[in-house]
Amino acid sequence: MRRLLAVQGRRKAQAGVSLVELLVAMIIMGVVTSMLVGTWLQLNRSAEFARADNTAGATGRDALDRISAEIRAAQPLTTASTNPFIFTMSAPFVNDANDCVFYSAYNNALTASQSGTDGKAQLLPTAIWLDTSGTTPQKKLYWERDTNKDGVFDSGDKIMLLASNVVNTSASVNKPIFTYFFCDKTGAWTQSTTLTTTTVANLVAVQIELVIDSNLSYKPSYVDILSTVRPRNVGNTN
């Protein structure tokens, strides 16, 4: 009898769990696991967003600083000319809402062929231009200089990517990168998104606005970065 009871006790102790208990446990574990996985994914996404946001913001600010310095240092090609900007190029190398072209020696290392001159040879056509090709709203903004000195922008020139996530031309944004402000000798102010041989004489300032998408992988997150530049060598005498 004692032996029988012992066997029954052992069998009862080793009976395990019922199917219902197992299912409930699995459901609970499933719920908890899915919550943990969701939280983990969200944390990863947040970290990625923070990285992308920081990188995009820093890239945008760097690009804005570079553009500001270049435009501030724009110079006329000859001392007789008061116009440091160029109008004879074809798109995208023109002065409009998304592009700006000018003569500049900024950050131009002196070469042997340029030494011993009055420095004029260092003034090269320089362009800040937006590559609007492609269907994605994020566009690439480039800096380019006519370093092979053939008077046009071509494959032999130095080109540098300033920012790759510019969304100024996105349908939901549609903001000019360059806005030109003019003041004539009567003190009247006007603004435009283009420069002409007539208006450049009264150019006072260039407002630059970059709209950066800092969340490329997910829902767009747009940040406006802007600055105002006064070219040192424009013809305005006000």
């Binding site: 969304v167 003041c183 406006d224």
Partner: protein, 278 residues
């Protein structure tokens, strides 16, 4: 007795290995659910705060750009100066002007539509002292906010200096260009000239006023080979010329006339009465 103890021990062991009942499990799940639900507002708050931070960054960028523009263009914002004493655009930096949407063709727009959508940011300006053309400096405060959406205000302050502020009573440092100055006229050979005259034109009034400085003419001599005029009006508003007549007819023409010049400090003019010679 051992048997009873044995039975009780087995019962206790069986009770201890029984696990949780369904009711206990459900209550636990319910409690866990309540705790997680209580944490939801925390997550929502964090997400909302992240979004607010983005808008705050944009607001700061806008405020910085406005401050930059004001500092950069402070001397350009007003009407064209007509004299050196006019404070150029400085006087135009007023609370009313900066808060006018069309001022400077909208360069300081009081509304900024952000690319991320939603209501535009509101930009307001305060200038202290306001509407003063003579104060040595002005403090400009730029505040960017989104009324009704976000509770934050981003405020930046800058100081604009009066570009034409001149310390007229200073006894050291550069001379005030508008104060009276002395003009000395000398000659390569004082014996070859006579009737030296200084004429200046006041270009401020219309028509301009031409005056011959006193003494009206001077004659260099062996005792004083230079001619000196004192107390002449200075500044860019007066245009000077010096003339003299050769003692004898020459190929230089008569009278000899200097280039026009402004007198912004004590000046010195020398006539070469024998160009290329000794």
């Amino acid at each position: 007795m051992r048997h009873v103890w044995g039975k009780r021990g087995a019962a206790t062991a069986r009770h201890g290995a029984r696990g949780f009942s369904m009711v206990e499990l459900l209550v636990t799940v319910l409690l866990a659910g309540i705790i997680f639900l209580a944490m939801v507002p925390l997550f929502v708050g964090v997400l909302k705060r992240t979004s607010t931070d983005t808008r705050r960054v944009v607001a700061t960028n806008v405020a910085q750009a406005r401050v930059e523009a004001i500092r950069l263009l402070a001397s350009t914002l007003g009407p064209t100066p007509t004299s050196i004493t006019e404070p150029v655009g400085y006087a135009a930096i007023t609370t009313a002007n900066l808060n006018t949407p069309g001022f400077a063709s909208g360069l300081f727009a009081t509304s900024f539509p952000a690319a991320h959508g939603g209501p535009p940011y509101k930009v307001t300006y305060t200038v202290t002292p306001d509407a003063s053309a003579t104060a040595a400096s002005k403090v400009v405060t730029v505040t960017v906010s989104r009324p009704g959406i976000d509770s934050f205000n981003t405020t930046l302050t800058t100081t604009i200096k009066n570009p034409t502020a001149v310390v007229a009573t200073s006894t050291s440092g550069p001379t005030d260009p508008n104060s009276p100055h002395q003009l000395t006229v000398s000659f390569k050979n004082w014996q070859e000239v006579k009737n030296v005259k200084v004429v200046y034109v006041n270009t401020s009034p219309t028509p301009n006023v031409t005056t011959t400085a006193t003494p009206l003419t001077q004659q260099p001599s062996s005792g004083a080979t230079t001619c000196v005029w004192t107390n002449l009006p200075g500044g860019l508003g007066y245009l000077y010329t010096v003339t003299c007549t050769p003692q004898s007819p020459s190929s230089w023409g008569s009278p000899l006339v200097s280039e026009s010049f402004h007198l912004i400090s004590d000046g010195f003019v020398k006539f070469d009465t024998n160009p290329g010679g000794s």
